[in-house]
């Protein structure tokens, strides 16, 4: 509907504009925004005026543009990410208190891992796994846990697609990944050093929703030199059980 001469819908262009804002570049000029969104300046100008009118983009006193509070509000209302993190936050606090490293909660969305929550530890120097960031499934401990408990059809789809390495240690051989997935199902956790970020080991465990469906992955990121895995796994498993129980209790019974 309401397509441009190029046939692209308004919504598609809005997505391109909003995706131009990120953690590293949260504010920018109109011309910078047009460039990052890959839109002609006149198109970006008209679109931004309308988005500012509705509060989805804010214009700062210096003329720069920033993602608007109204955009965040619209997305947060009724958001699955927000409900999940509200339930999970107290348990994630407990993990962080025990482990003293970044603790994250991630889901699968559109074929990648999406981090919906992260509690940062002041003791961690790691600058990764930020909230609303994405990672390839095979290059994140959370992704491997989420994949291990996904339906076989989805596993086949992911493992038959391109599996690019993110670090020299990222496992990209589908047969080896399948071996890891079987181990995860048997052990209940994964701890592979350096597959997503060199120097760090991601340890992840599954969080289940109603009917034993996989709902999320709970993850702690520890320095790979440390012998932290044996003490971190029980903390994660305990917290994941708590989140799973809270998810089941909060589920609306369906007729």
């Amino acid at each position: 509907m309401a397509n441009s001469p190029s046939g692209e819908s308004v919504i598609s262009r809005v997505v391109r504009v909003m995706a131009a804002f990120d953690r590293d570049v949260p504010t920018m000029t109109l011309s910078g925004l047009a460039r990052r969104a890959g839109l002609p300046l006149t198109t970006a100008h008209r679109l931004v005026d309308d988005l500012v009118l509705h509060g989805l983009i804010e214009r700062l006193p210096d003329g720069n543009l920033r993602s608007g509070m109204r955009m965040w509000e619209l997305a947060a209302r009724g958001s699955r990410a927000l409900n999940l993190r509200e339930l999970a936050l107290p348990f994630m606090d407990d993990v962080q208190a025990a482990v003293h490293q970044h603790t994250t909660l991630a889901v699968l969305d559109h074929g990648t891992v999406l981090y919906v929550e992260r509690l940062s530890s002041p003791k961690s120097s790691l600058d990764a796994a930020h909230i609303a960031q994405r990672m390839p499934i095979h290059a994140a401990s959370s992704g491997l846990v989420l994949l291990a408990f996904s339906p076989p059809g989805f596993q086949d789809e992911v493992l038959s697609g391109p599996l690019a390495p993110v670090t020299p240690e990222t496992v990209v051989d589908p047969a080896l990944i399948r071996k890891h997935l079987a181990e995860i199902r048997q052990r209940g956790y994964v701890a592979l050093p350096g597959i997503g970020v060199t120097e760090w080991t991601g340890i992840a465990v599954p969080v289940f929703g109603p009917g034993k469906t996989i709902a999320a992955a709970l993850n702690a990121i520890v320095p790979r030199q440390e012998a932290a895995v044996p003490v971190t796994v029980p903390a994660l498993l305990t917290a994941a059980n708590g989140i799973s129980r809270a998810l089941k209790a909060s589920a609306v019974p369906r007729p």
Copy 2:
């Protein structure tokens, strides 16, 4: 741009559709969504198809619709709300540990109070001040604190507008509100029982950004019968100082 026969833009209709989802009704049928958004079914149908295509709305296995993870992700990237809560969360944890009641962080946006974070206490039975909810400025302790440190022109604007009561105790007399604002500036906090929710007292203190501009209000909500105010205020002031300091440290120096 790209207006409907009624002259309404696509973006305006998208906002109406996304605003139909909220905490109480997070999933709905297409016809329910059209009704809540006030759109003809055929219009809603076309719009929803395009929003589903981009992941801004998700279609559940039972056919119901829900706000999409991609919508949340787009809003969260570069969001001021998210940066603020990341900085504030450890300090809010401290308040909650001391006070054992809901702790919220709020900002002014589009003439209302918008809650950007809430830590819930299992000890509190209060079902209010949810994340991404809004309240009238004069009917929330956070609103009065934010208003007290706002420019005089903005205060005049708010106090000359309609001031509807939310409870029988909401202060709606502009002269009396001005008296409260002066007291807040002098004392550094507000604690008014029942102005937003009967049976509860909101206690709020200011959080300042760079250059002593008001950035947010930190708030705890305590039962009004309890003599909690004298012990809660120091906890809030201490945490608000910490958040203000973190905000100033994180501000990118401007040339």
